[in-house]
Subunit: 215 residues, 2 copies
């Protein structure tokens, strides 16, 4: 398999965690999102992924997949062991809802192109941009905290005592939150789980600094 | 089953379509997102869904589910017929990627609370807010168009000749786009599929105007 990735992209980070948790080797194909106006906009890359986003996974049969959650679900279906989703439909729905609470409610508001629109098109100040960033992270994580703290199915990890799709989404989001100095003292369950994840090599080796294209 | 829904919410609209495609009856539980500051913020509702978002599905066994995509995946797992995902993993990944291209790249930027932040906190004008709305819809749908037009797996619907999860996401997004006068002449495949969907009762009965809480 080949993973088209940018070291700092949290969507790429999610897939790197899933691949590592499943023990799957892959070729790392760096796509620099900033240099030269962004390599993701090259005709070659857009032929593979018209969204001009990372990550893209190319499987050994040549199949090309985009969208981090769709890629992880595909890995789960084609390489089921170890599982990243529980067995019961209600548990699976809970793990997916936690993942989507990050993927749909927090991350999309804070990616590069949205921050670019705020400063370049709307002319907001650096301070307003950072406040926007922190607002969505801090309120979004407050929701995730409530979902975790209020549910007996939360264990060492987001759902039970083994890592799932939800943890693969949570850790990159916390990484970003810390990078942008977001408040995190109001989400103790989130932070406990984040710390627990760091003890696993699959998470530790997937961080941006450990990637071949890290700067 | 009970569906907590707001007639105009496109995330609710997605689940209504999925329920209708599967022929599943349910009790419609209206949650008004605007009246009285928003019924989704009541303590009772937030106990059920800390995110204070619609939709929520309550299954007959009492299980409570949030996040529209997680709910539809749950319906697919517990009521598999007719299927809303193809059988092959690559096809499933494509349908999910199409759905996520709407759920993660377009919709989150244009929901009520984000538009509220733009006008109330950042003080952007009505005109700037509408330009923001159209920008993310028009560029996001351009990506979806490229994903559809450039792939032989596209049929009468987003994937093949029967409706899938991707169509359940597409139709509510086009409904919103039309409501906000977005440009749509650059996405002919999207619009062809949208029109095809309208011919099915499952889509036609799920539109906002047909809901018990429609205004």
């Amino acid at each position: 398999m080949k993973l088209y990735s940018y070291f700092r992209s949290s969507a790429s980070f999610r897939v790197r965690i899933a691949l590592a948790l499943k023990g799957l080797p892959y070729d790392y194909m760096p796509v620099h999102l900033v240099k030269g106006g962004g390599q993701q906009f090259s005709a070659e890359y857009k032929a593979m992924n018209p969204a001009a986003l990372v990550p893209v996974l190319q499987d050994d049969d040549g199949g090309v997949l985009s969208q981090s959650l769709a890629i992880i679900e595909y890995l789960e279906e084609t390489r089921p062991s170890p599982p990243l989703l529980p067995v019961d439909p209600a548990g699976r729905a809970r793990v997916r809802a936690l993942a989507l609470s990050i993927a749909c409610e927090i991350h999309p508001l804070n990616n590069l192109r949205v921050l670019g629109y705020l400063t370049k098109t709307l002319g907001v100040t650096e301070e307003q941009k950072n406040a926007w960033y922190r607002h969505w992270v801090e309120t979004g994580l407050e929701t995730v905290e409530a979902m975790l703290a209020g549910d007996p199915r939360t264990g060492d990890f987001c759902h039970g005592d083994t890592p799932t799709l939800a943890d693969a989404l949570l850790v990159p989001q916390i990484f970003n939150a810390q990078r942008f100095n977001c408040r995190l003292d109001h989400v103790p369950t989130v932070m406990r789980i984040n710390q627990r994840c760091q003890t696993l090599p699959a998470f530790a080796t997937s961080v941006p600094a450990e990637q071949p294209d890290a700067e």
